[in-house]
């Protein structure tokens, strides 16, 4: 295995992707929405009308939600007023699955550009004539999609910590975020989801040789995150450290299976067949 080949391919793909507006536009807009606009909108509406949010805990629907809440979450809002509890629940728990859209979307958009886009533009043939092995080509493209997806997710997490704590400080009176449930989500589930997005894109792009086609199909993986969000809202699945670790483990297992299949799919003869 020649890591120089892998990193060279990854660097080239990242450079190419950064020159494609269809790739970087959603990568700017989505984090802005989840890190800046949504939390700030929520925090400032709470600051503008504290009375409305203060009565949150006495709302009958909310009371039902709170009664089903695990002890870890209940403990985190114990002693807080209604506004503070609402912010902790919304920004600390309910927003968490939203955040997972970032690694999933980044990895699928770059992987679509890297795998399907290269075939669409027929540049893949010149690449296949290089001395790099099939595995090196595959890993180069995995790194090209996975590294920025995970790095940007972590940077977004840092930015979210700053935004949430700074904007909510007048209401909370302390630095309260991040809460422990986020750590497995960011450092365990997010990389697993990125790899899931990449492996799925490789398999999808084997049948869908255009960038947009592969991206649109693989973007349907976002339904996993939506399911997680519904689970949180309905109280079926509350994100906690334990749940996060277990969920991540399941995802890594699925990743391992998909990567094995994707590596088998990724060979020169098959790639050329789809170019012709």
């Amino acid at each position: 295995m020649n890591w120089n080949h892998i990193l060279t391919i990854a660097a080239k793909d990242i450079r190419e992707a950064s020159g494609n507006r269809a790739v970087w536009m959603p990568m700017v807009i989505v984090p802005l929405v989840f890190i800046v606009f949504l939390p700030l909108g929520l925090i400032f509406s709470a600051r503008l009308d504290p009375q409305a949010t203060n009565s949150l805990l006495t709302d009958p629907d909310m009371a039902g939600f709170l009664s089903r809440m695990p002890a870890e979450m209940a403990g985190r809002i114990a002693g807080l007023n209604g506004t503070q509890a609402g912010l902790v629940l919304a920004l600390g728990y309910l927003f968490a699955p939203f955040f997972l859209i970032i690694p999933l979307m980044f990895s699928t958009v770059i992987a679509s550009e890297s795998f399907a886009g290269e075939r669409e533009r027929k540049t893949i043939e010149a690449l296949l004539y290089t001395p790099a092995s099939d595995t090196e080509l595959f890993l180069g493209k995995v790194v090209a999609a996975g590294f920025p997806a995970v790095t940007i997710t972590w940077l977004c997490f840092l930015a979210y910590i700053l935004v949430v704590n700074a904007a909510a400080y007048p209401l909370m009176g302390r630095i309260w975020f991040p809460i422990p449930a986020w750590f497995p989500m960011i450092f365990w589930i997010a990389p697993a989801l990125s790899l899931l997005g990449i492996a799925a894109t490789v398999l999808i792009s084997a049948r869908n040789p255009t960038f947009m086609g592969a991206y649109q199909t693989s973007a349907s993986l976002v339904l996993l995150v939506v399911a997680l969000l519904i689970g949180q809202v309905t109280g079926v699945l509350y994100l906690s450290v334990g749940i996060g670790l277990a969920l991540g483990a399941v995802l890594w297992l699925v990743d391992a299976l998909l990567v094995v299949v994707a590596v088998r799919t990724f060979n020169r003869a098959r790639l050329l067949a789809s170019v012709n």
Binding site: N2, N4, H5, T8, I9, K12, R15, E16, G19, N20, R121, K122, T123, I124, E125, A126, L128, Y129, T130, P131, A132, S133, R268, A269, L272, A273
Partner: protein, 313 residues
Amino acid sequence: MPPTITVQHLVHAFGERRAVDDLSFEVGRGEVFGLLGPNGAGKTTTVRLLNGLYHPTAGAISILGLDPAAHGQEVRARTGVLTETPALYERLTAWQNLEFFGRLADMRPADLKRRIAELLAFFGLEERAHDKAGTYSKGMKQRLALARALLTRPEVVFLDEPTSGLDPESALQVRELIDSIRRRDGHTVFLCTHQLTEAERLCDRVAILNSGRLLALGTLEELGRRLSPGLWVEAAFLQPLSPQPDLSRLPGVLSAAFDGARVRFQVEGESAIPGVVTALVQSGAQLTRLQPEQISLEEVYFTLQEQSRQGAQ
């Protein structure tokens, strides 16, 4: 010296269809070898097989002493390929394109830098070296792709339709570049084309394919002799002859036909020509020109393709 490329009874099938069917040939070191045939004849598939991108269904290949199916990486490290489309990264500059492929070939940074500068200068692209390849004209892209194929100083260069889609001026320029590459660096060149004038001008030997099968192989002279045995010569005089001598009765003459102040005759070999000239002079001919005719590659090609079509029916 062993041949650079040896192909024996090569077969490659996509499902039921044989893209390459019992193909055999050899290419010597420093030779410019042409693979001719219409679209779908199996030219590109052969290049891919020779570089280990496909594994043969049957038959054997040796290139630079290696089996590309088993040692594809080693083979590709010693070959350079100009693909049918330039296949350049259009969002990268010319320099970045070459740098990328040089790194994948494990070239040392200092050598790579020198080589890129040398090739960009050779192909007249140095002033646009840091412009994105997407802004290049078709001819410039083709020259850049050619530079990429030569980047690693490959022992064998594969050129797949190098002038395809180019305007006549750019095509001529690319042909001259190919010619100079061979003269300057002594590369073995494997040229796939359906441009017959290109093959005629550049190739030492050609193989003509149809539907993956080899129709003929040899130098243009050999192929011409195979289609039309003997040597054709045209003689011109100041005035038409009257009476015309019966040249076909002379020893070694196969046929002859007068046309005004010219005669076109076919002889078994060069040794029969002096007898014909003597007979013409004795008949009062004042010779102004005596020119052996070489059958064109175009004639050979279309005759063979037609024979192949008729054979298939």
